[in-house]
């Protein structure tokens, strides 16, 4: 049952991803990407990552995609015009290279996980039961990964300042 639902959302994600890269209109592309992001959030829920799924909807489908749509509207790119998709040669090249990449990526997914790095079955579920969905992620975030977390805050500050400097005509 779970596997069926998983595949349904997986097919939605892959199908809307394909539509996203093939639509001529950038706004249609962006909206199909939103569908992909929502389907991915559903996959995260099925993979026992409820908190990540909420973040996916809030940050990705909410904030980042609104930023994209805002820039598309600001530059008035939604109007009909010549397509930006490359011709038959470009399509052939992209298909061949993407197919080669998929052939390279598939064996990685099928390789068995080494037993020595695997946790005993049920460890993660027990941790989530004990600390709650948010607490189970927050504990390593503020413990083992505290320094990367602080660096991420500096990165975001740099991005804010950088975006203002780049987008402003005159400081």
């Amino acid at each position: 049952m779970t596997l069926t639902v998983f595949w349904i959302f997986g097919v939605i994600a892959m199908g809307s991803g394909l539509l996203c890269i093939t639509r001529k209109n950038p706004i249609a592309s962006a909206l199909w990407l939103v569908v992909t992001l929502f389907a991915l959030a559903a996959l995260f829920v099925l993979l026992d990552a409820q908190f990540i799924a909420v973040l996916q909807v809030l940050v990705y489908a909410g904030a980042i995609m609104v930023l994209f749509l805002f820039v598309i509207m600001l530059l008035n790119l939604g109007r009909p015009g010549p397509t930006d998709i490359k011709g038959p040669l470009g399509l052939l090249g992209a298909t061949v290279l993407a197919g080669a990449l998929l052939l390279l990526l598939r064996p990685l997914g099928q390789a068995p996980l080494p037993a020595e790095i695997q946790l005993p079955p049920g460890t993660v579920a027990a941790l989530q039961q004990q600390r709650g969905m948010v607490g189970a992620v927050a504990t390593p975030l503020f413990d083992t990964y505290l320094v990367p977390f602080e660096i991420a805050s500096v990165l975001l500050l740099t991005a804010i300042v950088g975006a203002v400097v780049l987008a402003k005509r005159k400081l």
Binding site: L33, Q56, L101, G109, G162, L166
Partner: protein, 99 residues
């Protein structure tokens, strides 16, 4: 066990992102394809976190933070380029090209 289908879907989504980058000329659409690739990697992290520990889910946080920073700065660059060239097509961005 959902690990194997998750990795398969993730591989396909990453490939779609790469194909989109190769196929399109619109800088904003290429940017969205990069976001698609980042999301495919996030799916891998979350799927592997089930059996390898919650560090994978923590890493998705960092990927999201980097993606947000990248989107803000990248779209600002696209706005600045548009102001100079009146276009976001990568065909017109050939200042460094010889002749």
């Amino acid at each position: 066990m959902l690990l194997s289908p998750a990795l398969a879907i993730s591989a396909v989504l990453f490939t779609l992102g790469v194909a989109g980058v190769l196929l399109r000329r619109n800088a904003i659409v290429i940017f969205m394809c990069v976001e698609l690739m980042l999301n495919a990697v996030n799916l891998t992290f979350v799927a592997l976190a089930q059996s390898l520990g919650l560090g994978g889910q923590v890493f998705v946080f960092f990927v999201m933070a980097v993606a947000a920073a990248e989107a803000a700065v990248g779209l600002a660059i696209i706005l600045a380029v548009y102001r100079h060239k009146q276009s976001v097509s990568l065909q017109n961005m050939n200042l460094l090209k010889d002749g």
